[in-house]
Symmetry: C2
Subunit: 194 residues, 2 copies
DNA sequence: GTGTCATATATCGAACTGATATAGTCAATA
DNA sequence: TATTGACTATATCAGTTCGATATATGACAC
């Protein structure tokens, strides 16, 4: 999905600045399953404005660029919904430097392998906490785009959050159950090669 | 991780053509946790050759470009291992058009939501089968880069495959357990909005 | 006082992707 | 028998994306 469509989606929850849209993708509600960087968000907002899909209001600020608050136009909202309805979603895409590195575990010091696996587990436990809709520390709280007017998480977001947590739980559990066997097998593998 | 490093990794398992390296990333052993496209693989191989990290042998072919079989140099192998040892691995990056779309489920026909969830489940069941090291249909068989000289899967690859399968199992199980509740909640949500 | 983070706008060089080009062989289907 | 799609090979390119950078303050921790 291109960044213009992602920005339209980000504005479905209400008005936002470019900076706030970036935060939705880098730290907030979309950060676990989509990616959009400042380098493409600002050009996308400019293009969407030119195409009449969003508008913005500017607020003067002292000592800072004027704040631009973007919102969807009627056309923009319709375009977004039409895009979701009509386009077959692309395959998921996943990149993991740690998993790639672990496929070469036999060539690496066992200490590094252990450290990588521990780092991987920590990242997924952290993600689990960040996804938890009942976590008071999370960015996406009562007024986030995934909530309805009463502050309740919307069904779609709840489902996606639950799925994310199930994946994180499975990851952490697998590591807990299998890490020692891997270390053992690596030691056996290396003594066989000597 | 940049594509030159990924290509070095691909050649750790032995010599390969550019086309075979593409297949490792698009259909084969690395396809579930790294991405490298033809558009960057060939330029990367050219650069690595210029840098003395790989060499190639050319075999003439009729009616086709000459086949270039690449292999790591000693420098290339050392560079790859050094890169794994010294660089802190980047955060995992995950993109899912289906999960992004599902966060807007309240705006979509329930039939589409069901179709997307079913498609998601099918993709992950398929992935589970492709990852399975004991699956005879999978591309990466007895002579793939994840195997030792006896055809046994290497411990690192076994661990990564197991982790991938755990994630797939959790995904499919979560969908089986939670899909109907989501559908029910969406129907309630929509009748509340009417 | 210094360093980091947050809040704001935006640009740009480098990297990457998907499509395209070329051109056959092979298997499945109508 | 003809057509279509997949596979095997090399490579390039236009468009997209990202991370770093620029600018400049305020708030907070050390």
């Amino acid at each position: 999905m291109d960044v213009r469509t992602l920005c339209l989606g980000a504005l479905m929850g209400g008005e936002a600045t470019g900076y706030e849209i970036r935060k939705m993708f880098e730290d907030g509600p979309f950060s676990h399953f989509q990616i959009a960087s400042l380098g493409s968000i600002y050009p996308a907002l400019t293009k969407l404005t030119q195409d009449g899909l969003v508008t913005f209001v500017e607020h003067e600020q002292e000592n800072r660029p004027d704040k631009k608050i973007y919102r969807l136009t009627s056309d923009g909202r319709q375009k977004f919904i039409r895009t979701l309805l009509q386009n077959r979603p692309a395959e998921d895409r996943y990149r993991s430097d740690i998993l790639f590195t672990l496929t070469f575990a036999e060539e690496l010091p066992i200490e590094l392998t252990e450290a990588l696996i521990d780092e991987f587990a920590v990242r997924y436990e952290t993600m689990n906490n960040l996804i938890d809709p009942n976590n008071p520390d999370k960015e996406d709280c009562a007024s986030g785009p995934g909530r309805d007017d009463d502050g309740n998480i919307k069904p779609g977001c709840k489902f996606v959050a639950g799925l994310g947590q199930a994946m994180c739980d499975a990851t952490v559990k697998f590591i807990k159950d299998n890490k020692q066997d891997l270390i053992k097998d690596l030691k056996a593998f290396k003594s066989k090669k000597s």
